[in-house]
């Protein structure tokens, strides 16, 4: 049962509450849905809504987004238009008004499409821990998690050069549906060959994952259907069954959606 909900006014106060055993509450779109339906032991929450963690800062190519910034805020920010397709593919407007950036990094799959996009953008996290502030690559955090009591305060990444960011999500319905397969990529082509590639996948494992094998196949190669088909075979994926799709189906259509993400058809 929910025994308390704190609303600290600063990141430090929020972190102290986490350290004392409270659970962080971002937009609540995943956690509150669970609490509304299921019994469980006593639980204390610390809401990040008033902790001064919202806001989007763009300085040249450097982007910093506060952890409690909502998906709706990102959707509305013209400077982040390359993320618009990703964000609008997530849930619905009344959910996006609540759901936060940091929350999206930790939701169970097949959600977490923004996390896949940020992984492809090689994002880093500002983390406030018992030993003070530090920076962690998102890739390490999605794999290993954080220490108990750690608080993500900000997500940082370099804005992708124009037309180098791709996001493609396959879902049961075009709007408001969990992912079957999500592909996010930062890709640069020079002289007909892939000069830079960073590829992240959703829906194909219990966490968003980097497709390092596919990146190796693609790097330095021409971007065509044959190469992309080989790239789709290059990673160990561990898809799962859920209400949206079977593991078999996810594995079966991943090559199709990798192709659509990278080649557009």
């Amino acid at each position: 049962m929910l025994t308390s909900v704190q609303t600290p006014g600063s990141p430090e106060a929020a972190r102290a509450a986490l350290q004392a055993g409270a659970v962080p509450l971002g937009g609540g779109t995943s956690l509150m849905a669970r609490l509304n339906d299921r019994a469980g032991g006593d639980l204390r929450l610390v809401s990040l809504r008033r902790a001064g963690l919202s806001g989007i800062d763009v300085q040249g190519d450097t982007v910093a987004i506060g952890a409690a910034t909502t998906l709706a805020d990102i959707e509305d920010d013209a400077r982040l238009s390359y993320l618009s397709g990703c964000v609008r593919s997530i849930a619905s407007p009344p959910v996006r008004s609540l759901a936060t950036v940091a929350g999206n990094l930790f939701v169970p799959q097949p959600y977490g499409d923004l996390a896949a996009a940020l992984l492809a953008l090689d994002a880093e996290l500002d983390v406030l821990g018992a030993d003070g502030a530090r920076r962690e690559p998102l890739e390490r955090v999605v794999t290993d998690g954080l220490r108990a009591g750690d608080l993500v305060t900000r997500v940082r990444f370099a804005a992708p050069a124009e037309d180098t960011f791709r996001f493609h999500k396959a879902s049961r319905r075009r709007l408001n549906s969990g992912s079957i397969v999500t592909v996010a990529a930062r890709i640069t082509i020079e002289d007909g060959l892939v000069a830079d590639i960073r590829l992240a996948l959703g829906g194909l494992a219990r966490r968003v994952m980097r497709a390092a094998g596919a990146e190796r196949v693609l790097l330095g190669a021409p971007l065509n259907a044959e190469v992309v088909a080989r790239a789709a075979e290059a990673d160990v994926i561990e898809p799962f069954d859920d209400a949206y799709a079977s593991a078999w189906y996810r594995a079966r259509v991943y090559p199709v959606h990798l192709r659509r993400a990278l080649l557009g058809a």
């Binding site: 509150m32 849905a33 009344p94």
Partner: protein
């Protein structure tokens, strides 16, 4: 379980309530203030029946501990009409048969209102996206989308808007007090 006094600006008026940690904005609206327009359809943020505006944004009120929105402005379906005069979205829903069982209607209208507040001239696709979190099992959505587009035209005062051919209902609408929650004595 400690309770907290929370203040929200509810349909333009400051209101206070005593909230437990588990009190959601939805349960505060319904059980404390007796505003029964927002519905509980899933308590999962999935059906949109509980949609209200929080500081101008559409939100699923079932997922919000009300103590976290102390000091915020909340608008609900009950705040739209001016007395017995329906607002443009409400009237368009009546005129275009955008209601059937009525359970999704308040949430649907609040999502539509949020859209029109930000985008007075939406496309059909904009409307579809705006209501994609509001589940309607009766209508098939088409009359709803048509109604929202008609409301947009009406709000813009577009002279090309035809006057609805459907007359206002002749059945007298019972005059209900502003807080329509039935009390034990009424029901």
């Amino acid at each position: 379980m400690p309770s907290t006094i929370v203040t929200i600006e509810l349909n333009g008026t400051d209101r206070e309530l005593i909230a437990r940690p588990s009190t959601t904005l939805l349960s505060a609206l319904r059980e404390t203030f007796g505003l029964m327009g927002a519905k509980r359809g899933c308590a999962q943020g999935g059906c949109g029946s509980c949609t209200v505006l929080l500081d101008g944004r559409p939100v699923v009120s079932c997922l919000i501990p009300v103590v976290t929105v102390d000091g915020s402005a909340v608008e609900t379906i009950e705040g739209l009409a001016d007395g017995e005069r329906l607002d443009d979205v409400q009237q368009a829903f009546v005129d275009h048969f955008a209601t059937q069982c009525g359970f999704c209607t308040p949430g649907m209208i609040m999502s539509a209102t949020a859209l029109l507040n930000r985008k007075p001239d939406p496309t059909r696709q904009d409307v579809t996206e705006a209501i994609c979190g509001n589940v309607c099992r009766c209508t098939g959505y088409e009359p709803i989308i048509t109604a929202v587009l008609a409301a947009a035209e009406r709000r813009r005062g577009d002279p090309a808007v035809p006057t609805p051919t459907v007359p206002t209902p002749t059945v007298p609408t019972p005059t209900v007090p502003a807080r329509p929650a039935p009390t034990e004595a009424e029901v």
